[in-house]
Subunit: 188 residues, 2 copies
Amino acid sequence: MTDPRRRRPRADARRNYDRLLAEADAAFREKGTDASLEGIARRAGVAIGTLYGHFPSRRALIGGLLRERNDALFERGEELLTHPSAAQALIEWVRAVVEHAAAYQGLATMLADGLDDQASELHESCVRMTGIADRLIANARAAGVLRQDVTGADIFALMNAAAWIGEQMSREQADRLVDLTMGGLMAT
Amino acid sequence: MTDPRRRRPRADARRNYDRLLAEADAAFREKGTDASLEGIARRAGVAIGTLYGHFPSRRALIGGLLRERNDALFERGEELLTHPSAAQALIEWVRAVVEHAAAYQGLATMLADGLDDQASELHESCVRMTGIADRLIANARAAGVLRQDVTGADIFALMNAAAWIGEQMSREQADRLVDLTMGGLMAT
DNA sequence: TAGTTAAGTCGAGGGTGCCTCGAATTAGCA
DNA sequence: TGCTAATTCGAGGCACCCTCGACTTAACTA
């Protein structure tokens, strides 16, 4: 796929790319996902056109920011698939995703949209998240520890809702929502 | 309070006020709570300054829009306080608030903020909502049909989370979240 | 090492939206 | 009919979004 005769990427481009990611992370942490892109470019010491050169949209920028994080998340997911307690594994996965999705104010909404929107840079990771959830649900059901009528969509909804609560209220309240709800979903 | 020597309000002002509310309702339904205010003024056939004359902020406009709706909601709340089944009453109240809060995309977020923010035009109604929830919770607890560790904050969180899910995904998914969670909260 | 060239950078510019404020208008009243 | 306070108007300053053509420069090559 990669043509070896192609020039190696320019050093300044790489530098700007990294700088933009770093400043974007800071800005999104401070102001949420609709922080000013011009402000980010400014903080990165780069013209606005350069930002758009690297990231054609706000979503692309956030996608870039999440890529690194995603690796760790999905690694954890694979791990959980072999967890001895299916019930515990599912709860842990929900918690992990909630934490992931609460990185920036507004991220939960983007992820919720991302599942449906094929064109979203976040689509693929949303699909992977639900994929792992589906497998964990199947495990839990097979083990008879999860109510039969609980769907992957229910869990995805809960994950997003809790992440949103985490943004709006507090991490603690989000955890409580997850615990209370999951408690109800577990088979008696 | 009302000085009888004061002039009666101008007819054009009243007309514009009503027109603005009507167009704002339409716009917020179509585009969510961050629809363009200039667009609303335009649709109402009024200059932007006139809109700001009547509603000094977006929140004030939404507050005006909700005032009518609120009356019906709180009437329902009072009714539920005398409902024979404390458990059923609480669930109904959650459902009613969720429906109320899902009127416009973005409203759930504003309401969640409104509870903390004294200055918000939505603050008072948020307080009333939780007030009714608190009384219903007390009833349910007294009847022994609700887990002892469930707080008003938990219910408020659930209401908002479900309303948000309703905006992002679907009304059905929101209902499922409420049913599944409330099912878990009820004492066995 | 100088020249070539494509990749990358720049930032002005056109568009939209927010909100303010002083000037102009007008409905209610006497 | 005229007075006056309430209301309306919309230009204007600001911030942000995003595009695009001109310019610059790092990587390659002879």
